[in-house]
Amino acid sequence: MAAGVPTTAEVRERLFVDFPMLQEIARRRPLYVEKLARVVRDCAEYNERYVLPRALEIDRVAEKDHEYFAWDLVEAGLKYNFLSLIIPTLVGGVGGLAVLFSLAMEEMCSACPGVANIFGAHALGIAPLLVAGSLQHWLTFLREVTEKEKQGKPVIMALAITEPSAGTDVEEPFFLSRARLSMSAKKVSGGYVLNGRKCFISNGSVAKYTWVTAAVERSRPCESWTGFLVDSDMEGFSVARVEEKMGQRACPAAELAFEDCFVPDENVVGFEGEGMQPGTLLTLAASRAPVGAIATGIARGAYQWFSRWADTARNGRKPASDQRVQMAMADMKTRIQLSRWAYLNAALSFDNSLGKVMTGPLLKSMEVLPGQVLYSEVVRRVFGSSFGKRFVNALIAAYTSSDAVTRAMANASMAKFVGGDTAMYVTSLALEHMGTDQCEERAWIEKAFRDAKLTQIYEGTNQLNRLTLYMSAIEGSLKVELARVLGPAGCGKGVA
């Protein structure tokens, strides 16, 4: 809801109110918190200038023309570096981690989760490159994103896990071992040939690069699950269809077809067999806190519109003067606040585990290398080699542990379903109180209600996330296994 663009100082104060924990962090790391506030302020400005004036219109246009994509809105986001928020500073990005990105998502989604999810799904496509020891891809693909962003040319990424007959199955090792897979990868000279389909892929129809998972051996899907970076220009890749969604329409979801699509060896992310453990699990550990934030942002936006409705007199009486509305608003505010703390907690546990690799002194020290050296063919080849990948895996193992990232994953699952349920609760309750009152506020909240439902489904249904939490934090049977320095990670529900 339009409220004027706040200053960075105002945003910082607001963050301290919403997240008292940040006040403590600011005492030790004032520059870090200042950076968070600056990014959130940018998001607020972007909402105010570009999103709020058009979000309802885009929703309606995209209902009729589901392939519609607002490139101009993406281009407007380039000056705020929205495509490089989580890309390491080593290759020209903002260098944000889960906390920064979650706060940005909440802010953006309070205006329009469809538009925000363009950047959210893009970051999701980047995440596997960050967590899977793929430094040579940072120097090539991620650098391309940041360089093109500076030139005003968006390079969008996506992540493709879900298959037409396997959704939940491909997000968790226990289920993957029994999944009905349609995608396959066959090893050939110099690379792999992909065949099959992926569906409901956010940004799938507009992405330049998509991280795609596939089993190299159908009989051993878990052990051979591998991540590939597919360029949309590659022969054999096509967009089969763009889905017609109930909400979040500004961000298109597509079915992708792979027909003898050759992917060279250098586009394998991590080692063969690391697609699930650690690839997918680490990616989801990184991304589910921001999804909790997306849902929290939807709830917050709906709450703000509802507050405006409640404070507007109808027939000489403000709805807010009714006790029923007061109670509802108290419940909404509480749920939103609890969701916030859940996602911040999850994001902090990611940043304090795997995130430390990205901000650690070794990678930081590489920033002093001149560009000719850092981006030279030699350096790229070294990091793309088996030795280079093992070096990064060793780095990850030195900075964090399997237990720490498992905790991060459990917290992220919690944040995800708490947020999704909050978004549905708040939007639904608001509409119940408004009746059929057809006003501007209702139009926004109806959109939020439709948008919110997706947050209970994507990034693993809320049911799967509850199971993940149970298995990882209660039963202890699910553990994230870090890539082994010598040889790939194992696979399986069980523990190393």
Partner: protein, 347 residues
């Protein structure tokens, strides 16, 4: 899936349900998505004409007025079946039938004989909020495209039957409502309540119309619940997760069981509130409405969830159930107000 309601149906009611179910299968199922997306395409009018042929455009009117003289519960059963195909279309039929019913009860039927044939529909503009020498009906299903608009004046004594083109009538179709879309809901302002009424309804009859409206919405909600439940059940049996049917998951079974429980509860309350002799206890109608609509909301949300990503896509029709269910909760009154009115009625 056979629920308790089905076992309790009499022979005539069973035949009615089968007949309306046939109409749904022949007409509505094919166009439900189209009329939701393009309510003005002409397909709604075609479907209305077909509905009239099976007696759904004059369900409540007496035999003498060319109607089916359905009892209230039978009318509810018919609405539930229609709603399984399209809740929006059921809302249009509800609005039309109640408008005609109110006119007949007020002795003003002669004016609107042309409305039973199926070539055009009427809409009940209620609730009607008085103000400034006239008033406003903020949400009128069937308002867009209606030939006649029927108002009950505040207090319910007088009834007005007007054309949208008449002086003092301002009708504005709502641009993009989330639910009941094919009924082309409209906001209607009427500034000539002082003009001659078409007839006199009386307070008791007005309360009866209100009760029937509530039960009608409850029945539409029951259609949503049943449809959500059956579609989710079919999907969960057909879809596999790994080697197991989705329906093998306890969590999914719990969701389905909750849908059945909600539908059963709503069915029972509607049957009870509809009574056998046409007399109403308004509080019972409100309770039935709230329970049935809450069940529809919950069932449609769970139905989408059971379908996963497919449930969110328009092709599967699940998301439409969810959008329509929200309007069942909101129409004619906001849910909390409806609940508060239960106590007021009983007091």
């Amino acid at each position: 899936m056979e629920l308790t309601r089905d076992l309790l149906l009499g022979e005539e009611q069973r035949m009615l349900v089968e007949s309306v179910s046939g109409f749904r299968a022949d007409v509505l199922d094919d166009i439900a998505r189209d009329i939701d997306e393009e309510p003005t395409s002409g397909k709604v009018a075609d479907a209305f004409e077909r509905a009239a042929r099976v007696g759904l455009a004059a369900s409540l009117l007496s035999d003498g007025a060319g109607g089916q003289e359905m009892d209230v519960y039978s009318f509810c059963l018919a609405l539930t079946e229609v709603s399984r195909g399209s809740a929006g279309f059921a809302a249009l039929l509800l609005s039309h039938n109640l408008a005609l019913y109110a006119l007949e009860m007020a002795g003003a039927w002669k004016e609107s004989e042309e409305l039973t044939g199926g070539s055009s529909w009427a809409a009940l503009a209620w609730p009607f909020i008085a103000g400034g020498g006239g008033g406003l009906a903020p949400f009128v299903p069937g308002g867009g495209g209606a030939r006649r608009l029927v108002f009950l004046a505040p207090g319910g004594e007088d009834i007005f039957s007007v054309s949208p083109a008449d002086e003092g009538v301002a009708l504005s179709e709502l641009g993009f409502p989330m639910g009941f879309r094919c009924s082309r809901p409209a906001g209607v302002e009427y500034s000539r309540v002082g003009a001659a009424a078409a007839g006199t309804l009386g307070l008791e009859a007005a309360r009866q119309v209100e009760g029937m409206l509530l039960l009608g919405v409850a029945s539409i909600a029951l259609g949503i619940s049943r449809q959500a439940c059956e579609k989710a059940y079919e999907y969960a049996r057909e879809r596999y997760q790994g080697c197991d049917q989705v329906i093998g998951h306890q969590q999914v079974r719990l969701m389905l069981a909750r849908m059945i429980a909600g539908t059963e509860a709503g069915d029972a309350l509607v049957r009870q509130a509809a009574g056998g002799d046409g007399s109403f206890r308004l509080a019972s109608c409100r309770v039935a409405k709230v329970v049935a609509c809450d069940a529809a909301m919950s069932a449609s949300l769970d139905g989408v969830q059971v379908h996963g990503g497919y449930g969110y896509m328009r092709d599967y029709g699940m998301e439409r159930l969810m959008r329509d269910a929200k309007y069942c909760q909101a129409y004619p009154w906001a849910r909390p107000n409806e609940l508060l009115a239960v106590l007021t009625d009983l007091e």
